[in-house]
Amino acid sequence: MTYYQHKNQRGAHVTSQEQIFSQLVTILEELFEIDPSTVSMETEFYEDLDIDSIDAVDMMVRVKETSGHRLDPDVFKNVRTVGDCVSAIHALYLEADNET
C-alpha cells in the first residue's frame, strides 16, 4: 500500500491541517452522528454541535487512538472551535516531528 505524506526539510512526516480536520470530522460522525457537511473550521463544539466536556473526553480518546497524540485536558479547555482543535493537534504533530 502506498501512501503519500509530505516531508519537511528534516525528513520527518508532516500531517497537514486538512488531514487532521478530516480525521476530526470522521470522529465526530462516529461518536455523535454529526453530519460531516455541517462542520467547518469555524464550527463551535459547544454552541453549534452540542458537544459538552464529557463528550470532548471521548473525542480526545479517539484522537489519541487515530493519531497517537494525546491532547492535554488543560489545552483542550481553551478550544472553542473545530479550527482551534485542529491547530492544537497540529501543534502536537509538529512537536513530535521536531523531536525525531
Binding site: E33, D52, I54, P73
Partner: protein, 253 residues
C-alpha cells in the same frame, strides 16, 4: 400603609438574613472547621463532619427565615433520600441549595466555580469537599463521591433557571448516573410568589410571603438507557427524558 411597613420590614429582615449567612460562613471557617480539622481522624471523616455542620447551619437558617416571616416551606417525601444517588433539582431561586443540603445531610454537591472564588463560600465549600464544576476531572471526582455512598446534588441547568424561559438541562448529571450505575432522585422546587430569582435584586421582596415547596418526587434507574451502545446517545436520551419530566410538571415561572 400597613402593607408598606410590613414590606419594608421584610426587606430589612432579608438583608439581615444575608448578613447572618455571611457571618455564619466566616464563623464556620474561623472557629468550627479548625476544631473539626483537629479532632477528625481522617480526611474523609473531616469532610463528612463539615457537611453535617453545614447541613445543620442550613436547616437553622431556613428556620430563621421562617421565623422572620420571610417564607414558609414544606418539604415532602424525605424518605426517598437514601445512599449514593444523583440528586437533581430544578433551580428557581438563590436559596434552593440551603433546603437541599440542609435536609440531605451527607450530600456532596457540584458548585459553580464562582463559589470557589467567593471569599465567603470558599471556606465551607472546600472543607466539605464539594466539587468545582470547572475541574478537569469532575466526572471521576463525582464517581468517587458516589462510591463512598453519599448522595451527590447536581442542578442540571448549571445555574438558576432564567425566569420566563424554558428549562434546559446539561448532560452532566445523566452522565454521572450512567457511569456510576446509580439511581437518580428527582426533586422539584416551586416558590409562589417568585422571589430571589435570577437577575432579581435581593431587596425586591414579593408583596406576600413566599411559600417554598420542595418535593422529593421519585427515583429513576438509569440502567435501561445503557442498552444503547453509544455513551453519547445514552446521556442525550436520559437528559431529554429528565428534562421532559420537569417541563411536564413545572410551569414556566
Amino acid at each position: 400603609m400597613r402593607r408598606g411597613v410590613r414590606r419594608t420590614l421584610r426587606i430589612l429582615a432579608t438583608g439581615f438574613s444575608f448578613v447572618i449567612f455571611g457571618v455564619t460562613c466566616i464563623v464556620l471557617v474561623v472557629v468550627i472547621f479548625p476544631v473539626v480539622w483537629m479532632t477528625s481522624v481522617s480526611a474523609e471523616k473531616r469532610r463528612l463532619t463539615s457537611r453535617r455542620v453545614i447541613s445543620f447551619s442550613f436547616r437553622s437558617f431556613s428556620r430563621m427565615m421562617y421565623r422572620l416571616g420571610l417564607m414558609t416551606y414544606d418539604i415532602r417525601n424525605l424518605e426517598q433520600i437514601k445512599g449514593g444517588c444523583v440528586v437533581i433539582s430544578n433551580h428557581p431561586t438563590l436559596i434552593d441549595v440551603v433546603f437541599l443540603l440542609g435536609w440531605i445531610e451527607n450530600a456532596s454537591c457540584i458548585l459553580k466555580s464562582a463559589l470557589f472564588r467567593n471569599p465567603v463560600t470558599l471556606g465551607p465549600a472546600t472543607a466539605a469537599g464539594y466539587l468545582n464544576n470547572d475541574s478537569t476531572d469532575l466526572l471521576s471526582e463525582c464517581l468517587h463521591s458516589l462510591e463512598n455512598g453519599f448522595p451527590l446534588l447536581v442542578f442540571p441547568e448549571g445555574t438558576r433557571t432564567r425566569p420566563g424561559e424554558k428549562m434546559s438541562f446539561r448532560r452532566g448529571a445523566a452522565n454521572i448516573a450512567l457511569a456510576g450505575g446509580t439511581e437518580i432522585l428527582l426533586v422539584t422546587i416551586t416558590v409562589d410568589p417568585v422571589t430571589l430569582v435570577k437577575y432579581q435584586p435581593w431587596w425586591a421582596v414579593p408583596s406576600r410571603t413566599p411559600h417554598y415547596q420542595i418535593e422529593f418526587q421519585e427515583r429513576w434507574n438509569a440502567k435501561s438507557y445503557l442498552s444503547d451502545d453509544r455513551r453519547s446517545r445514552q446521556a442525550r436520551n436520559l437528559t431529554h427524558d429528565l428534562e421532559q419530566y420537569y417541563l411536564n410538571i413545572l410551569p414556566v415561572q
